[in-house]
Symmetry: C2
Subunit: 557 residues, 2 copies
Amino acid sequence: MAAHDAKEHPPVRFETHPDRYVHWKLDFPAAHGAPQGQVARLAMDVKEDRGMRPGYPLKLNSYDLGVDIELADALQRIRFEHPEVRAVLVTSGKDRIFCSGANIYMLGSSTHAFKVNFCKFTNETRLYLEDMSQASGIHSLAALNGTASGGGYELAIACDEIVLADDGSSAVSLPEAPLLGVLPGTGGLTRLVDKRKIRRDLADVFSTVAEGVRGKRALEWNLVDEAPPRAKFQETVKRRLDALVAKSSRKSHAPVKLGPLEAKRSDKGAEYKYVSLVLDRAARKATLTIRAPKEPQPKTPADLAKIGADAWCIRAWRELDDALLDLRFNEPLIGVVALRTEGDAEAVLAVDRFLSENEDDGLVREVALLIKRVLKRLDMTAKSLFSLAQPGSCFAGSLLELALASDRVYMKDEDGVSLWVSPMNAGPYPMGNGLTRLESRFLADPSKASRVLETQGAIGTLAAQKLGLVTFAPDDIDWDDEIRIAFEERASYSPDAMTGMEASLRYGGPETMETKIFGRLTAWQNWIFQRPNAVGEKGALTLYGKPERPEFDFRRT
Amino acid sequence: MAAHDAKEHPPVRFETHPDRYVHWKLDFPAAHGAPQGQVARLAMDVKEDRGMRPGYPLKLNSYDLGVDIELADALQRIRFEHPEVRAVLVTSGKDRIFCSGANIYMLGSSTHAFKVNFCKFTNETRLYLEDMSQASGIHSLAALNGTASGGGYELAIACDEIVLADDGSSAVSLPEAPLLGVLPGTGGLTRLVDKRKIRRDLADVFSTVAEGVRGKRALEWNLVDEAPPRAKFQETVKRRLDALVAKSSRKSHAPVKLGPLEAKRSDKGAEYKYVSLVLDRAARKATLTIRAPKEPQPKTPADLAKIGADAWCIRAWRELDDALLDLRFNEPLIGVVALRTEGDAEAVLAVDRFLSENEDDGLVREVALLIKRVLKRLDMTAKSLFSLAQPGSCFAGSLLELALASDRVYMKDEDGVSLWVSPMNAGPYPMGNGLTRLESRFLADPSKASRVLETQGAIGTLAAQKLGLVTFAPDDIDWDDEIRIAFEERASYSPDAMTGMEASLRYGGPETMETKIFGRLTAWQNWIFQRPNAVGEKGALTLYGKPERPEFDFRRT
């Protein structure tokens, strides 16, 4: 089976649990002034010999995908399982080193596609850290009790605040360009100038000084927010955490345990409770079906708290998230994804009404934020997305977003095939560019978005076409052929051209720090990740840690 | 000498003149309703056998760099030499074909660096076409008397309006992705969704239908502005040109002939009247010196019209533009450029006062727009830029922009070394992101930009440091060593990492259609231009026009 990126490796799985964390410790110390539980401490203590794949020891708190999967899991659990948390302390469980970034030997031994997907996932996790702060009022502090280099510093600048011990040795640095011939591409360069707004010439110096910047200068350049001597380090961290807790606007809610998804996986795909992933590797096509709930769904926030993670509004989206990551990492040959929905649109709309009417509830808000993040993951997935609206499908409200996230929407021209809008299409799920998917769709005429939102009830095929929601609407006679040809054609094109094209067409309109990370920075990094100066036999990434010096082709492009 | 990109090719030169155009015809027909001279007609009629380099016939009005150099020259001359022009008609001198885009065999036989630089130059020229419309009121119309495909359609969408003959065969198309496995990367994809704001799913379909879209559908999708039958084509073009002329806000002024620059070139660089380019290829370093005027400069717009293109405010910047293009295309091994200025700051400030006080004059406005474009070309040049302020230098006003465009500013800590601001730093030269270079520098605190603008007279080294204008200020004892080490170090790094890093750090803050073209779209295209699916032995670009079908590695990245 040639489906996996690196045949010798088992597929990557993204579910984990704090009980099984290898590299992170999540606890809720009382020590930090605030009542116990208000601060979640995430301490990175990477086990050298427990890398996700063999062949690279994870020295000096360097990370691989396995480390980052635990971090992503922890952030999700803090949101749902620990509603009392108002601030997150990100620190290191090791002495004198915070984190030395992505493991270079791991990068050097990974395929291009794995590197790109790894960076994308890591970027997403860091954006989730920022989203926790902005959207949920759970602020974060990076306590650098030792050097933070490369991805280690990139993790730190994804936090709201950074405290660096001024001890004559601890430094922050982005040594990727001078040492490895690649970029601090997991958000680093963009956050330097766009988030911390560091002067471009200082950012230039900082990004080319391999040994980094320490103490006072790091503070002067705004690379950190405070640089106390070691003796005052804990006290400073405590003071800042107290302040972050105090300013938190987090809404309390009942804790919701995120249970295992228990997907049934086979060579043909994965079957979840509400999501099916069916692979047709020969055709390079996958079909992803999301089903509406059949069971009664919560009508009040209290109901939701009781039903918990089995509620459709949590479970279906966690399943979709897992399936998307499965597709990205384990199914590189899949080029086109058919997005389907199945079931009772009214059931989906009822969920949306519940979410919309209770948007001020802390737990409901977290659910909407979860859906927002999963939809962004869909936008960012480098597969062609074709939505198929057919008899029995239910692209309604939150599920209509799947169609709006698609590169094309095929809607069968037949009675009873419909789309439905809900208040959830009007704002709660912005794309990375800050616009709703309807706004992004109708950049030329924003009133068209309003017109869609004003519709009541089922929108038939003809009406959906008039509203601009549909790309093609074949009738029963043409449907099968037209769909088959569309998928065959799409799957026949250069996958690189499709990735680059979709990255351009999906993000019309404004750019934000978030889209710049994926658009500008990632695209440049992807380019560099192909270049002999990085990954050739004599490239800097290849030769890192070896006695030989890299040899560069110095022609500038 | 290994300096040139492709040793077998002579260096590329960018100066030309309508008398020597091979591929374009520039005239000023009376036929188009408006008084003769108000419409400039640019008719593309590419000579198959006159490609810039041997080996590819330029069939079907396809273009290479030589074709685009003529277009860039024509646009510049319309601005300066033809002040009566109020609209530009871009059309084809061939029957039934407008333009089939960049020549594929040329692309297939070019080095990666040449492809990238070629696309960048072509992008810049198209942005100049848009700048003519927005800033000078010279509007443009693409009259597609036949099919416009790929770069041909990209040229059309750089115009304000597009008229396509609806004749059953003429189409607009972007066949790059489906046919060649690359992107419509010379602005195409970005302009589709950002300029013409075409719905993303329709843009997706359009960009994957190799045969393109004709007549009514092209109009419905907003790919063109009007699609008359062939019998009404000329009449429609005339009507629209009349309207463009009527709405033009162009300010008339005396014509200014752009004479030849007459650079003295040697293996060591080029000597212009106000600009010196000195190459140290062994050190991968170039020194670019811009000298202040010594001769009396115009004091009134009438003076300027009389002195014409020999005035410093035109000549020095045309020379710098030429030197930058020389560096980009002919000196790929140069990695770092030292930017120096020399002469009397007061002379530069006097020019700036003249430009600022007469900003409403048509010719003065064109001069400021020229300087704006050259500075943008500098921002976009993929070489590290270090400005050196020393005794005798004159980084004043317009020349201070060179320092502000630099990745670093070194200023000698010595009495008499100064910087100076002028009103020209406050707005007339925005970067592609829409901000001034001062605003881009002080994203964290816009008041710092105001503080700089409020300074009067010479700003000494200490003051310049305090204002945030200087990266490093070594004194006389350290200067030589520090500068030497800085240049050596910079030149030793992976040139790819530097290009990607600078592309990120130079463009903090907002993105615009312009920066998206260079940042998002170009970066993706550069990536694709490296991929075996495009340029490998079995890649689509390599095999174009051959009987073999490309073979793709279908793993999605």
